[in-house]
Symmetry: C2
Subunit: 360 residues, 2 copies
């Protein structure tokens, strides 16, 4: 079975491995929570009212309300198969909550760098998602979408509080800025716990790869601002940017330390990860994430060559259970999933292997 | 560093992967203990007397006493470097005891299928070592050498007891026949303990790869006759042969069971072993033996192709600490040895890999 076509179609912009500081920062995300003043917040609205919100946005989209974004896709959640919904979650385009919502919908642009969730916790959740560290650009993109809506809809907004949201933690700017960081160096040198504890004290939230409540796998951590009230958008972005650069500095120092302390041991870790990923016939999501983390570290440190970082960004999405079911177009039991996952990883790493293993 | 030249030179006949039943039987060995009637047994002889034994054999060899074997090599232990001695042990051509013996010597034919230890526990230990199950042929070869000596030397022999030896367990035929078996199927299905216990009750000795007192690694077991008195050579050989064929039958049944029970799991085990062996940068002898065992099982079951069994037989010798030191021609610390071992395995598996991984 060749998955090339699928792979070529499914790439989201944030996975493409480019962007500033891309050896540590996988992606940057800007999310704006907005509500329409003419309807109750989603938690208090009738299904009929929520449907109306969706229909209003849909009509507006139909007549070109979002044409500044180029070609935009509209998807009503209830019209999607379970595996299509899960794939949207795995690609970080919708939240797990929206994927379960009968009155939910989502708009995405062609490169999937912008997604707009309708009827999640708020009527609108405008999200811009880019590779590497580029919070400013993500803010610019989210802002552009925000302006389009603002020109056609009346937002729930008060001069004292700013944007009104379902949850008080979002009131004010309605903004959550976040970056996804790959921190194997800090993890392997045992410094991660301390750093994350410090970060938390500075009003920054640390989460695993798949948002709130999710466990950190593959040394991937999402950090985001906690405060939305009393700070301007620019201040929020600047604070998160500054902190991110500090963490990047610590991470790169830790990687150097690992290289100096035991170069052979590090190389062994990286190559074993490659050997298993390129050859296993059954692999759990957790083990795959750990090995992908080691392989990525090896690529960043040039201990191994020939695998574009893009491949690994895609893999952390593609190996998720929901995504696998979409790829193979059927419900899969856990053990079968582990076999399919291994197949997918092998094909993916093989495609890009040419020359990868010559540097022995 | 290319090790090709070394590899091509160092192959012993028993490693060549041929012979009957070679998916289970690595090698067959016949050993005859003999003593010269004119000298005390080695344990009671003066160094001067032991030197005389060596000189007598050496002179006889010099004038063509062993020309029936073709070109034969004579090596005095004290003239060898420590790593050369260890390499002889690793190739199963001399015992660890002989390798430490100042008055010891060894004769080997060109293909190293015959070795004759001088002044080990007995004056002469004639050994024939062949790939696969071929005890009869090994007996024929050892017998031929025995006849050559018998024509020129007076053996310590009594009509009542037969050949006299240092240790009473060898008196009579002086023969020890053994086969080295690879039993991953019985091990993985948990049947090995029972089978080995039964075998032991039948008067058969079970040992690890490197003889007496050595631990079984890589699912390799040597089984040999315990009794040397009151049975003819042919009876000893026949009994061992029959038992070996029974064990082979059980082992092959166990492998089939593994294949049926969980084909993906078995395939995964095999391919992971390959992935790690072909890519690791540091590996212990124990781990390497385990993985080589899994890889060999995969080759035998045709789950993986393109690696000749010969390569794996050689590797179980080449990865020994002493052998590594000979290959790289220096004393190596344990950690460095693990790196060199990994390098050696990678080069060896790579040489033979062409086409090996195409069957994905």
């Amino acid at each position: 079975m060749s998955l090339d076509k699928f792979f070529n179609q499914s790439l989201s912009r944030w996975m493409d491995g480019t962007g500033s500081e891309n050896t540590v920062v996988i992606s940057s995300r800007m999310r704006l929570a907005r509500n329409l003043g003419d309807y109750p917040f989603p938690g208090r609205a009738e299904p009929k009212q929520l449907d109306e919100v969706v229909q209003q946005v849909r009509r507006w989209w139909n007549i070109g309300g979002l044409e500044a974004l180029g070609s935009v896709n509209f998807m009503a959640i209830k019209e999607l198969s379970p595996s299509e919904r899960q794939a949207l979650v795995d690609k970080h385009l919708v939240s797990p909550a929206l994927a379960r919502h009968q009155q939910g919908a989502v708009l995405t642009n062609q490169e999937e760098s912008v997604s707009i969730m309708i009827n999640e916790e708020d009527h609108l959740r405008i999200q811009a998602l880019l590779p590497g560290l580029q919070l400013d650009e993500a803010w610019r993109m989210a802002s552009l979408v925000d302006d389009q809506f603002d020109g056609s809809f009346r937002y729930a907004w008060s001069p004292q509080q700013g944007f009104l949201t379902s949850c008080p933690t979002n009131v004010g700017t309605g903004m959550r800025a976040s970056v996804m960081l790959h921190l194997p160096g800090l993890s392997l040198t045992g410094q991660l716990g301390n750093i994350l504890a410090t970060v938390t004290k500075l009003g920054i939230v640390v989460r695993g790869l798949f948002g709130e409540g999710s466990e950190a796998q593959g040394n991937l951590y999402q950090i985001s601002n906690q405060i939305t009230l009393g700070q301007s958008e620019d201040e929020i972005i600047e604070a998160l940017n500054r902190l991110t650069l500090q963490i990047i500095g610590e991470e790169l120092k830790a990687r150097e330390l690992l290289k100096q302390r035991d170069p052979d041991g590090l190389s062994d870790r990286v190559w074993r990860a490659y050997g298993i990923l390129a050859h296993s016939r059954r692999i759990s999501s957790r083990e795959a994430m750990e090995l992908i983390s080691a392989l990525r570290l090896g690529l960043d440190l040039k201990l191994i060559k020939g695998i574009p970082p893009r491949i690994l960004n895609e893999l952390i999405v593609f190996i998720r259970p929901g995504y696998l079911q979409k790829v193979f177009d059927r419900e899969l039991q856990a053990e079968v999933r582990d076999s399919y996952r291994a197949q997918l990883i092998r094909e993916r790493i093989k495609i890009s292997e040419s020359g990868g293993d010559t540097n022995v």
